[in-house]
């Protein structure tokens, strides 16, 4: 089938790329754009390691999203979370609270956490559980991941307060 040229913005960078209609966003990012930070897992939407965020903050399983549907749209991946040269508070918290082990699902965990904390910096236990339900992590047992998210939430809350005052 004929390829189609799409305009795709990843982490603020504009790309024009020819894609086949059946190619997924994951394949295009990894294989055409060489953005390998987003990992390829089950490719069937069940493990969550390929999670990226859409422009409205949606949680996207990039292994199930067809690239052609993202023509003219933008996504954020784990490579676009840092703030300048600094780790984002979520990344910092994951690192400092031991929420990272083998690191393969970490991009999926970070992007799921970011989608949650971008809209809710006071998440309940249930909010966190629901937001993280899509990612399977065999190493951490999710325990330090949840702690890291709670700690990151408090940093982000503080930042909101400070921002509000200034």
């Amino acid at each position: 089938m004929a390829k189609q040229l799409i305009a795709l913005t990843v982490n603020g960078d504009p790309y024009e790329v020819a894609v086949s209609p059946h190619q997924t966003l994951l394949e295009v990012m990894r294989d055409s754009l060489n953005l390998t930070g987003t990992k390829r897992g089950c490719t069937a939407g069940s493990c969550g390691v390929c999670t990226v965020n859409g422009e409205q903050g949606e949680v996207i399983l990039s292994c199930l999203a067809l690239a052609v549907e993202w023509d003219g749209r933008s996504v954020t991946t784990v490579e676009g979370v840092e703030e300048g040269n600094e780790l984002h508070p979520i990344q910092k918290s994951f690192l400092e609270h031991g929420a990272v082990q083998c690191g393969f699902c970490t991009p999926g965990l970070i992007m799921s956490a970011k989608a949650l904390l971008d809209v809710n910096t006071s998440p309940s236990e249930t909010d966190i559980n629901e937001a993280m339900a899509g990612v399977i992590c065999r190493c951490t047992g999710h325990i330090k991941v949840k702690k890291a998210i709670k700690e990151a939430a408090s940093v982000l809350r503080e930042r909101e307060v400070n921002h509000g005052e200034s």
Binding site: R40, G41, T106, R138
Partner: protein, 757 residues
Amino acid sequence: MAKAKIKNNVPTKSRTKEDLAVVGKNWSRLDGADKVSGRSIFADDVRLPGMLFAKVVRSPYPHARIISIDTSEAEALPGVKAVITPEDAKDIWIGISQPLLPTENVTHVGHEVAAVAAMSEEIAAQAAALIKVEYERLPELLDVEKALKEDAPQLHEKAALNIGWQQEEEHGDPDAVFAECDVIREDTYITNPSHNCYAEYHVCVADFTKPGKLKMWTPTQTAHLFQQSLAAGFKLPASDVRLLTLNTGGGFTGRTSTRPHHFLAALLSRKAGKPVRLRAAGDEEFIMCRAGGKVIYKLRSGASKDGKLKVIEADLLFDTGAYIESQMIVTLLTSKYIHALYPIEASRYRGRLVHTNHLPYYFHHGGGIAQFQFALGQHVDALAREMGMDPVEFNLLNAVEEGHTTMEGAHYASCGLKECIEKTAAMAGWNDKYGKLPKFKGIGIGIGAMASGAKGLYKHDTSAAFVKVTEDGKASLFVGLPDMGQSSHTTMAIICAEVLGILPTDITVISGDTDTDPLDIGAFTQRGTFNTGNATKNAAIDARDQLAKTAANILEVDEAQLVFRDGKVYPEGQEDKAIAFAKVVYKTLHSREGRFVMGRGFYNSPLEKGTMAYSFGAQIAEVTVDPGTGVVTVDKMTASHDVGRAINPRVVEGQIDGQIFSGMSQVLYEETLMEDGQVMNPSRLDYKMPRAFEMPEVDHIIVESIDPNGPFGAKEVGEGPIVCTMQAIANAVTNAIGDQVTEMPLAPWRVIRAIKD
């Protein structure tokens, strides 16, 4: 080997936390920033010029004769660069009994028959579908007990009754001791087939384009053994096989030996003259993963009426699948743990690996030991109850202590088992809960022991390390131990930093290339912290001793009086005279001698067999069982582990958490459902593991028994905790419903059946 000339940093029983500058504090993993920002490279991220993509043709039948293989259409497909069939794989063997590609019969579903390499994964898949294989079905052997029957078809010429390997061991006089026992109990347990389910699927990139030189990027727990195995398979000198381990996306006892895909990718690369990537696609992950098979455990034990456990007998039947490579390890390991926890008077063990037409099974997380303890822990719990004893009281009465030597010869130089049991029971509030909970709420305990290393599986159990100290006062540490997520590289940096008196963040850990790494037999049998840790410590001491000469000259004191700490070197008690560590390094190089400081160290258990260190643990699980559905909810886990010394306490907690997850996952959920030799649930949707919302609260207790032989007293936490988890949860379920569920996983239907019975 350098001797520790310097008093500082010598671990003794009397050393307190305050004596240590960096060991025992929480350090973030050194590769963590890369991992949270998407910069970490895994094998699937490797992109090489001209790289091709592979697809394997697999048998759809458990047992069949190959009549013909027609590759003509596949070869004619544009973009196909190489096709291999059994003809191309002659004389390449996986282990001792499996030809890489079968010349006569396929013996399990998913058995590799042919493979293609093409310009894209898509073309490779199309080409694989065009390969026509004609089969003639043969009688199938799909049940481990039926395989033992006289009239069962025999799968291998040499394996009578399909027994591929048998181990029998007896210590003391079990029959005589049984005759003296007041209580004797027998139970049978079953654990079912499972899958390692690491986040990173099976993958490798092979570059065999240069004649006689093979390069491979692949996740592994042991680059050294992979190198040896690939070299043997391709009849190359080992040094012509270069293993490049990037990050490894989880190990869980599942990446300890090479598998067919490693050889197939190499063969395709050689034939096509291009690098080749081979990765499991979708459900293929489940049929190429050689995790644990079904095991039946028949246990019998006896005790005296005062509650002393006297004798244990275990008869284990393993479904080992179609071939044996290194699965004998599972009987060697489980046989040791029959008398690891209790100072019994006699024991008898038999382990049989039985062939079936299932894929060759190896081990799931816990290496067969945790699964064996699921059986033994429940059995002993039942024995205690039968005698009217509280299981905690029973375990405290019977548990091994420091100085104990097991009947098999394992000596416990340190042992905090009783402390673990006592502290866990206290923190969990055992006495207020056991026997006092409402119906369908339960509490249960599991205890475990774990060796740090397993000399005897191989002739040596060696780890080596180099330390290169650079002019600016920093160091590079070279180790061959892979880090699959357990943070071992950071642990090694902490140990090295403690000796040199600098910070772990001053150290760059170089690892993952067999061309540069010193030898390390690998990250399995939870040997890293103890063995590679000792090697690292020895290498750092060697480097420090070279620096001590310079420092002693400058400070005009004896080397033995020097302290290396906080980036400084000073005579003991005279910190005001301190000189900077970097200055000592500088002066050592910028001198007439011009010495560049490189330390080397290695560690191998001095024993003929076995290790010098064993860790211990206890866990208490609290559960709720839904009597309507049989669903078990784990409400809380209280976990203790005697790690010797916690080098990096937060990592110790993380290891405990992960193993509680995996133990809970295996005991409650994980099962590859087999039907006619097929995996019926080959996806992460249908093969269940806990999600975030199913995880209980976990309380950690780190017990530090300060092992005399460990680096700064450390032992292990790599696989000890999981040994306790499955039995603790199973015992809690028994406590909740009043009956044992003897088959794992404790799926709702099995729990309901136990409640109704």
